[in-house]
């Protein structure tokens, strides 16, 4: 199967080289960097290294970046699209297992999860994650132990959903949507490292806003998704 790794990058000049090298060394899949109109020299770094990069002229956030990645996957006929952070938190060696699960038709979406076999540590961040797990459990009946994980592999069906519905985000509420559409989700245990440089998309002050958005979306919008006829 043709596999595409989507690497969204916003001001990741310091991390991107390492991430892409990790991807190239540990997998033999294609990749595309989505440069979300970075203000630093992410683009120059990529061009210097001859990386495959798509540059957006206007900054529109992570969601738009992933959506563009899905369009790219559709346009060039990929069977599996993987969302992979460009900030060095994710390790490419786990991607093979995600792809395996989809190839074996075990699931439509494979999530690289930190907490399948390991317990969640106790912190504010993990408390938020627990609440999201609970909200997903209540609305769909499925347990997703690491709903905020940004390492996800989508099969063709899921890619088509992304292209059909422009409101889908690479966030937990989309998992509810996909489950309601009767797509199967499976979690695979992975390790993630702390980011080395730069700031995350989710700044501390934004976390509360993020949680409120997610809860509204899961409970009022995604939970009443109807499955395709």
């Amino acid at each position: 199967m043709k596999v595409l790794i989507i690497i969204p990058a916003y001001n990741e000049a310091q991390n991107i080289e390492k991430t892409v090298k990790d991807v190239m060394e540990n997998t033999n899949y294609d990749y595309v960097i989505i440069n979300d109109c970075s203000k630093d020299n992410t683009k120059e770094v990529c061009e210097k290294n001859n990386f495959n990069i798509v540059s957006l002229p206007i900054n529109y956030g992570l969601t738009s970046g992933i959506q563009l990645g899905m369009k790219y996957a559709k346009k060039y006929g990929y069977d599996i699209a993987i969302q992979f952070d460009g900030d060095g938190q994710h390790q490419a060696k786990y991607l093979k297992e995600l792809v395996n699960q989809i190839e074996k038709e075990e699931c439509n979406i494979a999530i690289g999860s930190r907490f399948v076999t390991k317990k969640k540590p106790k912190s504010m961040r993990m408390f938020g994650s627990m609440l999201l797990t609970l909200a997903i459990k209540v609305t769909t009946g499925k347990k997703i132990s690491d709903p905020t994980s940004g390492m996800r592999a989508y099969d063709k069906k899921a890619i088509d959903e992304f292209i059909r519905n422009a409101s889908l985000t690479p966030e937990p509420d989309t998992l509810v949507y996909m489950l309601k559409k009767k797509l199967k989700i499976k979690e695979i245990q992975v390790e993630m490292s702390e980011r080395e440089f730069g700031e995350s998309y989710l700044k501390p002050l934004k976390s509360i806003e993020y949680m409120i958005n997610m809860f509204f979306s899961i409970i009022f919008i995604r939970s009443i998704t109807r499955k395709n006829k």
């Binding site: 798509v54 540059s55 002229p57 206007i58 959506q67 346009k75 422009a166």
Partner: protein, 118 residues
């Protein structure tokens, strides 16, 4: 309603009506978008001049003063307007995003083609 309030309402409605028409002439406002404002101001003038039906209705509905009823209608009108604007902004946002994506993919395609030629 008191006479001063009625005069005030009439003056404001007239001003907004004239503003709408001039903006359309200067091509800064689309006719479709201004229709609601013009209807609104015409209605307000009508209410100010012929206030007895509104006073009767306000009385029947149990408002303490007819002017409260007029204000309530105006607030409702504005809420609807902002909601419609919100929808418009969202759809514009979506359109710009589509363009953003299209340009990015197109540029990438061109780069790949150029590299192949070389």
């Amino acid at each position: 309603m008191t006479l001063t309030l009625r005069i005030l309402l009439i003056v404001c409605s007239l001003v907004s009506f004239v503003l709408c028409v001039t903006k359309i002439k200067q091509a800064k406002l689309k006719v479709v978008n201004s229709v609601m404002w013009m209807i609104g101001s015409v209605l307000l003038i009508a209410v100010s001049i012929f206030s007895s039906p509104i006073e009767w209705l306000a009385n029947k509905l149990g408002f303490m003063a007819p002017v409260n009823f007029v204000f309530l209608i105006m607030i409702g009108f504005l809420l609807v307007q902002t909601f419609i604007d919100n929808i418009r902004i969202s759809s514009l946002n979506e359109k710009i995003k589509e363009l953003d994506h299209y340009i990015a993919l197109k540029e990438h395609e061109d780069v790949v083609k150029n590299n192949d030629k070389k």
